[in-house]
Amino acid sequence: MSILTAILWRLAKAALTLLAIAVLNFFLLHAAPGDPAVVLAGEAGAADEKMIEQLRERFGLDQPFYVQLGKYVGGIVQLDLGYSFRQDAPVSQLILDRLPATLLLTLTAFGISLVCGIALGVAAAARVGKLSDSALTTLALLFYATPLYWLALMAVLVFSVWLGWLPGFGYETVGAGLTGLDRVLDILAHLILPALTLGLFFMAVYMRMTRASMLEVSQLDFVKTAKAKGLSGPAIRRRHILRNAILPVVTLAGLQAGQLVGGAVLTETVFAWPGIGRLMFESLAARDYNTILGVFLVSAAMVILFNIVTDIVYRIVDPRIGATA
């Protein structure tokens, strides 16, 4: 099975999964207490029956449940995520506005955690049993045990408030009128803290995994073969152990994508990062169903995307998959 057909197959399955998620979440959200019309009316500072009636009619909440569901699913099939009455804009617009920020954050965090995690894992495995190995594994364990949000708070406190090195929140310096490279650098400066705090946890995960995997692979027969060939230690690690050891890490990374996207909710909240995680959290309090559903769908799609990417990486690294599947 070629990579292309594999991806097509995955996408088809993904579409079904997404549809199922839409339906399930639709049920879940509508089971929640709280009426979006009442919330919206409430926020206006005053409300009477008439206003709530108007709002319910506009939201389509006066219709039977199955009609609402049908309409929603019908829209999803046509890639229409519905309309946010709370924000008075199409959900797809709201999400698209914020998606780049989330993608930037999660992908950077993913990249940092994967690259650094693997690098540190390799380094630790190469020094197994030595002090530097213990130091690295202990550090990883600490990151692993530290609540993300707490780390974020401490990072803001130290790097933004005390040292003043990095901006503590936001996506870019608003209204600075920066363009071109300046703007990119500005966004990067804003990105560092959130991406690092989000990435550290996963870096710890990948590092531990890489280390364990490296150690395990180094026990395998073909490593002995490589030694018997007269290859040097570093060459064996690079050419033989690493590639094989990375496979389980890649699998894990794909599986953890869901956690990464979930973690973004916390990070975005602490760092005022204008992404979809925050959008979801805010929409939840307002019972802005369509927006929450939209965010769920999009983030699930992101998870699937991460999975597909890791799948492709896996296929590229491991020649066996494509042939025997």
Binding site: A32, P33, G34, D35, P36, V38, V39, L40, A41, G42, E43, A44, G45, A46, A47, D48, E49, K50, M51, I52, Q54, R58, R86, Q87, D88, A89, L94, D97, R98, A101, L153, V156, S160, V161, G164, P167, G168, F169, G170, Y171, T173, V174, G175, T269, V270, F271, A272, P274, G275, R278, L279, E282, L284, A285, A286, R287
Partner: protein, 515 residues
Amino acid sequence: MRYLKATTILVAAALAAPAFAQDSGGRLDIVVQPEPPGLMLGLVQNGPTQMVAGDIYESLLRYNTDLEPQPSLAKSWEISDDGLVYTFHLNEGVKWHDGAPFTAADVVFSADVFLRETHARLRASLAYVDTIEAPDANTVVFTLKEPFGPFINAFETGTMPIVPKHIYEGTDFANNPANATPIGTGPFKFDKWEKGSYIHLVKNEDYYVDGLPHLDEVFYRVIPDAAARAVAFETGEVDVLPGGSVENWDIPRLAGMDNVCTTGKGWEFFAPHAWMWLNNREGPTADKRFRQAVMYAMNREFMKDVVWNGYGKVATGPVSSRTNFYSDDVTIYNHDPAKAKALLAEMGYDGTPVRLLPLPYGETWQRWAEAVRQNLTEVGIKVDIDSTDVAGWNEKTANWDYDMAFTYLYQYGDPALGVSRNYTADRIKKGSPWNNVEGYNNPELDAKWANAATLVKPEDRMALYTEIQKEIVDDVAVAWMQELEFPTIYRCNVQDLVTTGIGINDGPRNAWIKK
């Protein structure tokens, strides 16, 4: 005819303003929290929308910090002696942001058509209005069916925003695409809204008051986290923290910084008043003695000092001491656990737990509920805090599914606008969290409320309101907690930021930055 003399003087002052050599230009970054759901003020009137859209839209009048009317779109006005006819003379040469001329027809359309349809709070006042007419392009006449004392307070931006007739007439108001790019007559024009990040307003070069506004642009910054907002102010990223945008504990620290000023002014029109609804219908709270016990059990001074960091004032009754018609001739409930216990013993409280619903508006409110729970626990009342988010809070209070619930409401300058709605029997209606949620039902008082609203003479009204306050405080219809104060924190070089009773909402109009 009764002229409000202050008018002309102030207009003169405003026109003479450049003589004081305010510096022109510059940019103001103001925190807005939460992100407004929309900026079309005629459709959405929640707090954040009022704050941002208050620069874009205008109404006929503004109100100073003593709640006296000031000119805005109307340069002068008269009220007939019988209190039935309100005549407004509009400024000339006013233009909408899209260049179309503003006329009296816009006012008639806004008040009579648009807002009647969309604005629930104004609708209550408009019920007293018989006709709204425009005898000429610059005059609007409101004729009332019966006198309505507080009617002069109804011409505030958030209460009666004037919307462009040429854009909205004959359309589906709620779904008009123009809602995304609001067009008003105000000192600032809408430029850009980066959702989740900021709203950018730019100076209206054609503003009808010469020399205003001074600022070139205003950014309303969306920063969802209170701690991050504090950091933003500290690092100089924002210049103004409107009331309520940081937790109270942070205020002294921020206020103590160099070049930082605070003011408690700018909330007079709203006079936010906090209380706990005590469900008068069922459970222990249905017993007046229990409600009184709650009042005695609470150490509200302590809560004010600790939870609110000393800001505000313990409330004595339903009317805020900052608005008109406040009376202090009521029973004062001091912290007296012994009395509370005695009352509980008298009623035979059996330890039934009561649910306490905090207001889901952040840490302060949560702490407040925790402090109340602790106080009540100390006199033997078992309290469970109900946890919920904004939607759940709305749902529960609207459906009366609570025992005690925190809330706070604006008073809108007059008991007839902002107070009576919470206590009269005709406002006992499920589905809204902004009416007589506690279910207090006192027909005798209902009559007095109704009467007081329609009296023309302030002293007559005062007499009635004094009676009402005395009785209702004895009944403990709700547990009044505190007159809230939301200090505005800003850089001291920002001048003339808070000049009216609605503070920041129309503050940037006159604000300037000293260089």
